[in-house]
């Protein structure tokens, strides 16, 4: 398929730990069309960030393939990979720790250009940095400022600028707004969406905030303990969630309206179990209100119920 910028097939990433194999990402497949946004939601420890990091080769996948523009990035030589690396970038979660405190704003934004030897001379670097600062809404007077002088929103704008200065096609946004206040969060979300429109970017948007993910995504993937349990277009997943875990997640969001005042909700009991040497069967079975015996026996593959809506549970089907 040519219009898919990124295709992921049976991707697995295991980590070796003292207690056994940690299944961080376990057999995940999906595709993102060019110019679209795939949202990934799930609780902490479900493998969202590992997925994002594996996609841009910060981790080598244990198994499976990642096709970027039709090429399997995992099998490329270092030289070939370095050629496409600028096309895949990442915006990191914490604008407080992801920036080098000893570099000023100009140096931080120029660094990717210099590392990749993109510009011919110093003047070109300056021009491109100035343009990028303007694009992400950083005043030019801040060029010589250091990160500690800036607030979280501005720092995250630096993170965005660093990711976008190489004119990438695919950007992994790993919880880019969760460390920010709501009013600043909305500014950054608007910025990311405007830039997507202007530059035709494709996003993988990782977050635990369901209202954010609904706002920004075209398609949403719900992960639980390394597995994708449900994947559907954004509207569909909120209108018609099928997997019990998706339903529980949606029910757990506090809604800012008076109707939700003091209401009694059906709560999910228990907590996420350990992803080390998981038992066979549905990973959610231990917390699932509908769990039956068959849930702990066979694996549940993703099944397409309606066009574009995949779910890994037979209750919804």
């Amino acid at each position: 398929m040519s219009q898919n910028l990124l295709e992921v097939n049976h991707l697995k990433k295991y980590f070796k730990t003292g207690a056994g194999m940690l299944h961080a990402v376990d057999d995940v497949s999906f595709a993102i069309p060019r110019g679209k946004t795939m949202g990934v939601v799930g609780e902490s420890g479900c493998g969202k960030s590992t997925l994002g990091r594996t996609l841009i080769q910060l981790y080598a996948p244990t198994e499976g393939e990642i096709l970027f523009q039709g090429k399997n990035v995992a099998s490329l030589s270092r030289k070939e990979f370095n050629r496409i690396r600028p096309k895949m970038q990442m915006i990191f979660q914490d604008p407080y720790s992801s920036l080098n405190g000893r570099m000023n704003v100009f140096q931080l934004i120029a660094e990717p250009l210099i590392v990749n030897k993109i510009c011919r001379d110093k003047r070109e670097v300056e021009e491109r940095v100035a343009k990028m600062m303007d694009t992400v809404g950083l005043a030019s007077r801040l060029a010589m400022a250091y990160p500690h002088e800036l607030d979280g929103g501005r720092r995250q704008r630096i993170g965005v600028a660093r990711a976008l200065i190489l004119e990438p096609e695919f950007v992994v946004c790993d919880e880019p707004v969760s460390a920010l206040d709501v009013s600043i969060q909305a500014q950054i979300l608007n910025l990311l969406m405007d830039l997507q429109e202007q530059m035709g970017l494709t996003y993988l948007f990782i977050t635990h905030d369901l209202s954010v993910v609904k706002h920004i995504s075209d398609e949403i993937m719900v992960m639980y303990l390394g597995k994708c349990v449900e994947r559907a277009p954004a509207e569909e997943i909120f209108a018609n969630p099928l997997h019990p875990y998706t339903k529980a997640l949606l029910a757990a969001i506090p809604i800012p309206s008076v109707e939700s005042c003091h209401k009694i909700r059906e709560l999910l009991q228990g907590e996420v179990t350990s992803p080390v040497n998981p038992k066979p069967g549905c990973r959610f079975a231990a917390r699932c209100p509908h769990a039956a015996e068959r849930c702990t026996q066979g694996d549940f593959p993703l099944v397409e119920t309606t066009p574009g809506h995949f779910v890994a549970c037979d209750i919804g089907v």
């Binding site: 609780e43 902490s44 607030d151 979280g152 929103g153 206040d181 709501v182 009013s183 600043i184 969060q185 909305a186 500014q187 979300l189 608007n190 969406m193 635990h208 369901l210 209202s211 954010v212 609904k214 706002h215 920004i216 509207e235 909120f238 529980a248 997640l249 029910a251 757990a252 969001i253 506090p254 809604i255 800012p256 309206s257 008076v258 939700s260 005042c261 003091h262 209401k263 009694i264 909700r265 709560l267 999910l268 009991q269 907590e271 996420v272």
Partner: protein, 352 residues
């Protein structure tokens, strides 16, 4: 009033260092009745946590100063009490749930010891060690932790479980007032829902009053009776939950906050964030603190502090309200002039 647990009058707190003075809390007032929950909402640096620490007398000694106002707890001004007297109240009658369960616990003491500590220190009923132990176990079960785990250390617990331990510590003495400082911010949504419903249940059971500090309007909607919206150390809007969420008039900042949240029910392609940033608390604007970011800013806002306009308990600190107030009176007068009845006095419609 008799069952008023806490009343804060015109409280101001500043932090003074050699270099600068930070005006963290600037004249806030509110009151809390028995069994009520009040939400304090605002962005980072709005002064929410400083207010909480001020109530508990836990402000940093050298830099922080309470420059004015009263904190009346059960009718007694606890502001400026000595350490020994505060100790009597703190942990027993007023307790606090801290934000980050990962750092709020002592890693070298078992959770049982940490829960028992408050009981041991405030041992008014002269409980024996055995009785304290029993009470610790009972409290653990109350927050949903099996009693066998009391001799485990914090690192053996997950984030949600640790927060339950922190809540157990706060509740073990059956406090009159519980201050919950962003109790669920560090937790996942499913765990957040569990913890919130637990706090609500325990509150109903013991009639505890709660101050819920948060920046999540969803959490406020689910738990609170009253809400105070804080901005740059002031409460800019204060009212019941219904006033804040569905009321007719609002402070522009409240409108901005609501516009910033992506809605789960409606589809909008763009958010309407508040432009700009919170003012530097060392150098606050002379007039309304929100004026530099306000879309409805008028000339008067830039140099005159707005007063509080109140309507049936719903307080808004904004010059616009004064105008609306006057408009309404004028309208009412005009209508009275026309019809002569003056009975159907209505407020002018304001778009939200």
């Amino acid at each position: 009033m008799e069952n008023e647990v806490l009343r804060i009058e015109d409280l101001s707190i500043l932090y003074k260092t050699d270099l600068e003075t930070v005006y963290a809390v600037n004249g806030i007032s509110f009151s809390l009745k028995e069994g009520e929950t009040m939400g304090l909402v605002g962005e980072t640096g709005a002064g929410k946590t400083t207010t909480a620490l001020g109530i508990l007398g836990l402000l940093p000694e050298r830099t922080a100063r309470v420059t004015g106002g009263k904190i009346l707890f059960e009718g007694e001004d606890i502001c400026g009490l000595g350490d020994r007297e505060l100790q009597r109240i703190r942990g027993q009658k007023i307790s606090m749930i801290f934000q980050d369960p990962m750092t709020a616990l002592n890693p070298v003491l078992t959770v049982g010891e940490q829960i028992g500590e408050a009981l041991y220190l405030h041992n008014q009923e002269n409980l024996s060690l055995k009785e304290i132990d029993a009470k610790v176990e009972e409290t653990l079960e109350l927050v949903g932790i099996p009693r066998e785990r009391k001799s485990e250390y914090p690192y053996q617990f997950s984030g949600g479980m640790r927060q339950r331990v922190v809540i157990a510590i706060a509740l073990v003495c059956n406090p009159k007032l519980l201050i919950a400082d962003e109790p669920t911010t560090a937790l996942d949504v499913t765990i957040q829902a569990q913890i919130l419903s637990m706090i609500c249940n325990l509150q109903r059971r013991y009639g505890t009053s709660v101050i819920m500090i948060t920046h999540d309007l969803g959490v406020v909607a689910e738990t609170c009776d009253k809400v105070g919206i804080m901005y740059a150390g002031e409460i800019v809007e204060y009212g019941t939950l219904a006033d804040i969420f569905t009321g007719e008039h609002h402070h522009p900042y409240t409108d901005g906050l609501f516009g910033s949240i992506p809605s789960l029910t409606e589809n909008s392609r763009r958010l309407h964030p508040i432009e700009g940033l919170m003012p530097d608390p060392t150098d606050l604007p002379a007039g309304c603190k929100f004026a530099p970011r306000c879309t409805k800013c008028m000339e008067i806002c830039k140099n005159t502090q707005p007063g509080v306009y109140e309507e049936k308990g719903h307080q808004i600190r904004c010059h616009l309200m004064k105008q609306k107030d006057e408009n309404r009176k004028r309208d009412a007068l005009a209508r009275r002039g026309k019809s002569g009845s003056g009975e159907n006095v209505q407020a002018p419609e304001v778009k939200r």
